[in-house]
């Protein structure tokens, strides 16, 4: 339920005013806290949500991403335990005991979850 709510919030933000946020950063240095907040307030009023204070809006946006990241971790865990408790081979790479997901070296450097460790 919580994860659905998270997805709902994030899709509201996406549908209602994705571009409201972007112009701020395209022409200026990256978003400051105040510009995130003012953009978020605009979004929330247009979606007819109750007026929340700045902290909550920022928090919800953050929580949406956090929830999605958590769900991704849960999915990964299920994938691993699915086969009856033992360590499964990685479907993509055929490796046992190694990192899940795509081959870390597929683009030349050694990456895990987006962070590069060596090249």
């Amino acid at each position: 339920m919580a994860s659905n709510l998270g997805r709902l919030f994030s899709s509201i933000f996406n549908l209602s005013a994705p571009k409201l946020v972007l112009p701020c950063i395209r022409s200026e240095p990256p978003l400051t806290r105040s510009s995130i907040n003012s953009a978020s307030r605009l979004v929330s009023s247009s979606a007819q949500k109750p007026q929340s204070d700045q902290e909550n809006i920022n928090k919800e946006q953050r929580e949406a991403v956090e929830r999605d990241l958590e769900n991704k971790n849960e999915d990964d865990l299920e994938e691993e335990e699915g086969g009856g408790g033992g360590i499964q081979a990685n479907e993509e790479t055929g490796e046992v005991g190694g990192p899940r997901g795509p081959e870390p070296t597929r683009y030349g450097d050694w990456e895990r979850n987006g962070r590069c460790y060596d090249f």
Partner: protein, 649 residues
């Protein structure tokens, strides 16, 4: 003034008088060769095994296969004398650094004598621990040593020493097997064979790894073995200050190292028959680096001060896209210890690079745009930053599906979110980060240096393997191979050395600055921290990825001025030349390494591998030789360029 030869270059920047009179005969020999024959020195003549001994007049190490004799009585005698006198310790072998090179060596030589492993923080704090990629080796029947060699030499822009490359690629597989026997656990496939990955630059799958924590796993296995070994004594939080050396005729001989215990603030002198320098890299000469805080180039600086020859310092490896804290909405409260590199995969998956005016700049530099090779991207970013006088560029992946972004790059998403940035909607601020030093203390094929009794292995060494650019995953391999190769000559040297207990009095001892008082120490500390930042900013600005003679000369001048300013301040506050403190000693090492990089970069009149200069933008075949830096002249020297025990009174 350092004597610096762009080996093989038409112009040579030094004179005979710059070499110390009583020092290396070999140096004089070389200088007489300079204008006349240097240009004609072939690669073979300057090969690493013969070159070092030929030009620098050291004896080849002749050793026989002696049986392993465990003379426990001898070992116990040495041990007990180190307990008697707390401030001077006597060991057969001293190892400076606790990364893969240091520990691997320690475990072998411990079978023949007592070993002190000296490490400046916790034993696991080293570049090794952060090397979370893999180790490369020929472990597949369809792979070949020739192929690994070829890949290494191509990556190194043909500046590698072929014999070194052959040795490393040939001995690599055995070194990996030994690690496995020691308990390091590497990933395997379902068929039970080692799982090998293929990293950029390799034409075959040959990277062995442990999940994604290879360095950490190797470090863990080695530390465990070291803990169990009764002949190895680990001295944590012991910062190495200077090597203890003396002149024996034309030879410089190393008999140990002075250290500062950074927890008790006591100086401990280590007298050893053999010393292995395995102190790692110098990333912290730059403001953004993947290296942990311990990597301040201590070994390279100590070796240079001890008159060891340094080589190829201009080849500094940068990763183009590290997360730029400057560009995060909520800046981290304290400076990040080591840079967060944003993978190539972001660009591979469609990420676009923009400058701060939101102009897509890569197409201006290369038709492959963001998919151009990493070094092209690094140079392009550097060029934009310097032209526009900006601190970072932007890497935008937000146009891709949100779910895909979070699926593939959760670490970046989480880290950015922590600092107020949502990468599914906003671009990621990135800046190049210093990652690895290809150059260092020049080593022969046995890890020997021109200083007798001093061996080197790992990132601190310049063995000829990496040439002008390191091939991915070859660094752990180099460390393993050379640590092992230095063992036999070390044992032979140790056996032929006597212990002179009075030798420990030959050098004045470093002093802890108790007399200065807390107030003064605080001022010195604060100023030193500022100076460090200033040096790092200078290095990034003037000795970055794209170089030019004008900028390098500016760097030379400004670094010298900064160094004078810093030393003047210290001495004004009452600091004396034999005083030591962690930050001050690190600072002098950083100055030393920075100057080595600048001198080397100025000496190379071509662009090759990692060294790119607009004044000489092409490869020059006649310059396909290592850059060599000989010891400094005593005429004009600073606190950072002299050993502590050789300071003028």
């Amino acid at each position: 003034m350092t004597t610096c030869i762009p080996a093989g270059g038409g112009k040579l920047h030094y004179q005979v008088t710059d070499c110390k009179g009583h020092g290396l005969q070999g140096c004089r020999k070389t200088s007489s060769v300079s204008g006349v024959t240097f240009n004609r020195c072939s690669q073979k003549e300057l090969s690493w095994s013969s070159g070092v001994s030929k030009f620098l007049n050291i004896q080849r190490c002749n050793f026989s296969q002696s049986p392993i004799s465990e003379n426990w009585r001898i070992i116990r005698t040495v041990t007990s004398s180190c307990l008697r006198d707390g401030s001077t310790k006597f060991f057969d072998f001293a190892v400076i650094g606790s990364g893969v090179a240091g520990l691997r060596y320690a475990l072998e030589v411990a079978k023949h004598g007592s070993v002190a492993v000296i490490t400046k923080a916790e034993p696991h704090e080293s570049n090794t621990n952060y090397a979370q990629g893999g180790v490369s080796a020929v472990l597949c029947p369809s792979d070949s040593v020739e192929s690994h060699m070829h890949d290494t030499i191509v990556a190194g822009a043909h500046l590698c020493d072929e014999e070194t490359v052959r040795v490393v690629c040939t001995e690599g597989p055995d070194r990996i097997k030994e690690l496995i026997a020691m308990g390091a656990s590497f990933d395997h496939g379902e068929d039970g064979n080692l799982h090998l990955a293929r990293e950029g630059g390799h034409s075959h799958r040959r990277i062995v790894h442990a999940a994604d924590m290879t360095g950490r796993e190797i470090e863990r296995a080695l530390l465990e073995a070291v803990d169990k070994d009764p002949n190895i004594f680990v001295f944590e939080h012991h910062f190495a200050i200077d090597l203890l050396t003396f002149q024996n005729g034309s030879d410089t001989v190393c008999l140990g190292v002075d250290t500062l215990n950074t927890e008790t603030f006591e100086v401990t002198r280590f007298n050893s028959k053999v010393t292995l320098l395995a102190s790692g890299g110098a990333g912290h000469i730059y403001p953004s680096t993947t290296n942990p805080p311990v990597a301040t180039g201590d070994g390279m600086a100590m070796a240079h001060r001890a008159e060891a020859v340094i080589s190829n310092m201009e080849f500094v490896q940068f990763h183009p896209t590290a997360l730029a804290d400057e560009g995060l909405p909520l800046k981290p409260t304290k400076t990040r210890e080591n840079a967060f590199l944003v993978t190539e995969a972001v660009r591979g998956d469609g990420g676009i690079l923009y400058n701060l005016a939101m102009e897509r700049f890569m197409p201006l530099y290369d038709e492959r745009a963001e998919l151009a090779p990493r070094d092209v991207v690094a140079r392009s970013i550097d060029d934009q930053l310097k032209k526009r006088n900006e601190k970072y560029v932007l890497l935008d992946i937000s146009h891709r599906p949100r779910e895909k972004i979070l699926l593939h790059f959760p670490s970046i998403a989480a880290e950015c979110l922590r600092h107020g940035l949502d990468i599914t909607r906003q671009p990621i601020p990135v800046v190049p980060a210093a990652h690895y030093m290809c150059g260092g203390v020049r080593a022969g094929l046995q890890g020997e240096t021109n200083v007798r009794g001093l061996y080197v292995a790992g990132e601190v060494a310049c063995t000829g393997l990496h040439g002008a650019n390191r091939l991915a995953s070859n660094s752990l391999l180099e460390a393993l191979v050379f640590a092992r190769r230095a063992v036999q000559p070390s044992i032979e040297h140790m056996k032929s050395s006597g212990i002179d207990f009075s030798a420990s009095n030959w050098w004045p001892r470093p002093v802890v600055p108790k007399s200065l008082g807390t107030n003064t120490m605080d001022k010195i500390l604060t100023f030193t921290r500022e100076v460090r930042k200033e040096l790092q900013a200078l290095m990034w600005r003037y000795v970055g990825i794209i170089r030019s003679t004008i900028r390098l000369k500016s760097a030379e001048r400004k670094i010298s001025e900064l160094e004078d300013k810093w030393e003047e301040y210290l001495f004004q506050q009452g600091w004396e030349p034999t005083m030591v403190g962690l930050e001050a000693c690190e600072m002098r090492n950083l100055f030393c390494c920075a100057k080595l990089v600048v001198s080397s970069a100025l000496a190379r009149h071509e662009s090759r591998g990692l060294h790119y200069t607009v004044d000489f933008p092409h490869l020059e075949e006649s310059m396909r030789l290592p850059t060599i830096i000989f010891p400094a002249s005593p005429v004009k020297s600073t606190w950072s360029s002299r050993q502590l025990h050789k300071q003028p009174i």
